[in-house]
Symmetry: C2
């Protein structure tokens, strides 16, 4: 591993790359200064111009809406990007796992909310230890778990910020809004070592509702439940400093709700095929943010006129939201993927793809795609400008 290859923020993280809770990585398939076409494949490529426009656009719009943003770092898993987001006004970042938080904090991110439950002695001890190095928050939806968090925090002499998670339609974690939330919030507020900081009210299912009005109604419903819970808490003298939620599909609705004050969108930095299927208010394609993330891939076989085979498969992009799309050759369709191959159909295309040609694929789903790679190869004007380590890649616990 050659430290001189590492771009912004990289050099500082690498020495700690094998520390507990931080992933280290394969070597990048590129060097700074290379033309894009010389980058080896598969590689995870960021178009820096598009990426920077996405960051600036979100910063401008949340500022105009008068709400905070704490972007979700589960999307990018990269301390360089987290610091760029904070430089543009984000109050910190979210992540989903203690090990992710460890990787980010140790790479210089000072404020992390684990927007998820942290269960089990080992994880709780790690979370509490991390709270000595950075401002840490966590979500709870279970009274026993809150007690365990409080015991560990008290024993360590620290205080954890706790959001009570309510289920506003996602059907995953979270207590019911209203009385259940009230009971748990009172419990949290009474436990030494914990500080009740507000509500986590993320509506995951709403993010990919294609129709704009239907998506808006889902968040109106979530906001209504959240508003009622905040009011009920206020009547018992418990203030919600933070009301958190929102994703890239719905953030504008939470921002306008008057009740959410901290947004957690993540995918907006990259976009993906799935989010691009959402529709805007006029029924047109969702265009607030641009595709800035690509899996760069080589044609490794051209066995038939209508078929080419790429060198990227299930280990280079996620397929849970469908196949990737070709960025620059719209008539070429990715038919299927196996572990290390993707078969593309050239039937409807005049593209003369030969063995050795390289193409850009837009991932179907950005988060689990990023988690397959160790480096971002950051490109501007077709040259590699930086290599950013994905320090929380593989941090699943």
């Amino acid at each position: 591993m050659d430290a001189t290859r590492i771009g912004v923020g990289g050099a500082g993280t690498m020495g700690r790359g094998i520390a507990q809770g931080m992933s280290a990585m394969c070597d990048p398939a590129a060097e700074i200064g290379l033309p894009l076409t010389d980058v080896d494949t598969p590689a995870l490529v960021i178009d820096l111009d598009a990426f920077e426009r996405n960051l600036a656009e979100m910063a401008k719009r949340v500022s105009a809406a008068g709400v905070r943003i704490r972007p979700h770092a589960k999307t990018h898993k990269c301390a360089v990007i987290a610091r760029q987001q904070m430089a543009l006004g984000a109050v910190g970042v979210c992540c989903q796992k203690v090990s992710e938080a460890e990787a980010l904090v140790r790479a210089g991110v000072p404020d992390v909310l684990v927007s998820n439950q942290v269960v089990g002695r080992r994880k709780i001890d790690r979370l509490v230890a991390l709270a000595r190095e950075a401002r840490m928050g966590v979500c709870v939806d279970d009274a026993g778990n809150a007690v365990a968090l409080g015991e560990a925090a008290s024993a360590a002499g620290i205080t954890l910020d706790v959001l009570v998670e309510i289920d506003v339609g996602a059907g995953r974690c979270g207590v019911a809004p209203g009385d259940e939330a009230l009971a748990l919030a009172r419990g949290v507020a009474s436990i030494d070592g914990l500080r009740f900081a507000g509500l986590q009210a993320y509506h995951g299912r709403a993010q990919h509702i294609r129709d704009y009005a239907e998506r808006e109604r889902a968040i109106e419903s979530a906001a209504s439940m959240t508003r009622a819970t905040v009011a009920a808490l206020a009547r018992t003298g418990i203030e919600c400093e933070t009301v958190a939620g929102a994703g890239t599909g719905t953030w504008q609705f939470e921002a306008a709700s008057g009740i959410y004050n901290e947004l957690q969108a993540g995918s907006y930095v990259f976009m993906d095929v799935d989010y691009a299927k959402n529709l805007d208010a006029a029924g047109g394609p969702f265009a607030d943010f641009e595709h800035s993330l690509f899996v760069y891939s080589t044609v490794m076989s051209r066995p038939a006129r209508e078929r080419a085979v790429l060198d990227a498969g299930l280990k280079a992009f996620a397929t849970d939201c469908g196949m990737p799309r070709m960025a620059d050759l719209e008539s070429v369709v990715v038919l299927n993927a196996s572990d290390e191959h993707a078969v593309v159909d050239l039937t409807a295309s005049n593209a003369n793809l030969g063995v050795g040609d390289k193409v850009r694929l837009i991932p179907g789903h950005c988060d689990p795609t990023v988690n397959l790679h160790d480096w971002y190869v950051c490109v501007r004007d077709n040259r590699v400008e930086a290599l950013w380590p994905i320090v929380a890649r593989g941090c699943v616990w």
Copy 2:
């Protein structure tokens, strides 16, 4: 990273963990000697007894059939397992990528076939460099690619073993059997730096045909095309030293074909939900090999009577072949997975899963699941006996 935590074969590989082409890793979620229930989650767990029975069963049966086995290391990506397979008689291993081969060779594996095309100057140079450290083979299906391989090998003063890949029904890479294969084999045989070593004739599509007789017929067809190509080559004086192919779904048919002499099955070491759906000759479940690989996971939320949420999602197991299955609670169904969560349905179960309880999931597809993890937590009699590094995790180029 604490080197004393590392089990068989680990200590030797870790020092080189950040060398070019070798992945390094997150810390393991366990220590040797821990009871399984104290292993943090999500973790990738091997049941060593079942795993060892799988290795021994395959070794015994290929030996009885009088064929060689070169197991596919794309499944396990682990030098410890590769060496165990070779100790039981395997002639070497396969992998799909040069970077995988680099990781394995540098961890002590002496003989690797890249059962795939290697395209592009950078990859070819790395392959050729590796051939100074180990016996290396590669597949080709393109004359221009063969020339490029020969030029690099000649310049380096080494000789690469080359298999010509033929398409025997997989519809992916490979030239047509017969005349096309003959022309390419002649070309390879004439190129300095290359040695024509035989045919690669893997029928990927046949592996998961559920019906036994239909699966057998698919391989009879592949074997027939392969046999004809071998005969045509022999008539022109070109001998096929190696005729390679087969996977866990079909290996017994290739072994009995009289034409294949080197089998490339990989998944048999672990099995998965998808392979377990194959049927045996009597129409019963395929039971030659046992499930030995599990994603260990914790119940992190129990928000409703019929619903529990696990702490493992798309970043801990692959879903391209469907959801994982609960190993020990058959009536509990994994409904869906998001990035870091799986929702399970308890409607049909009496299981009293509470927050903090741990469960074993059988992955839908073992290969891309393994690629999400850095360590195998190897368990016998419910205790952690070893931690094996997945040295080729993330090696996609």
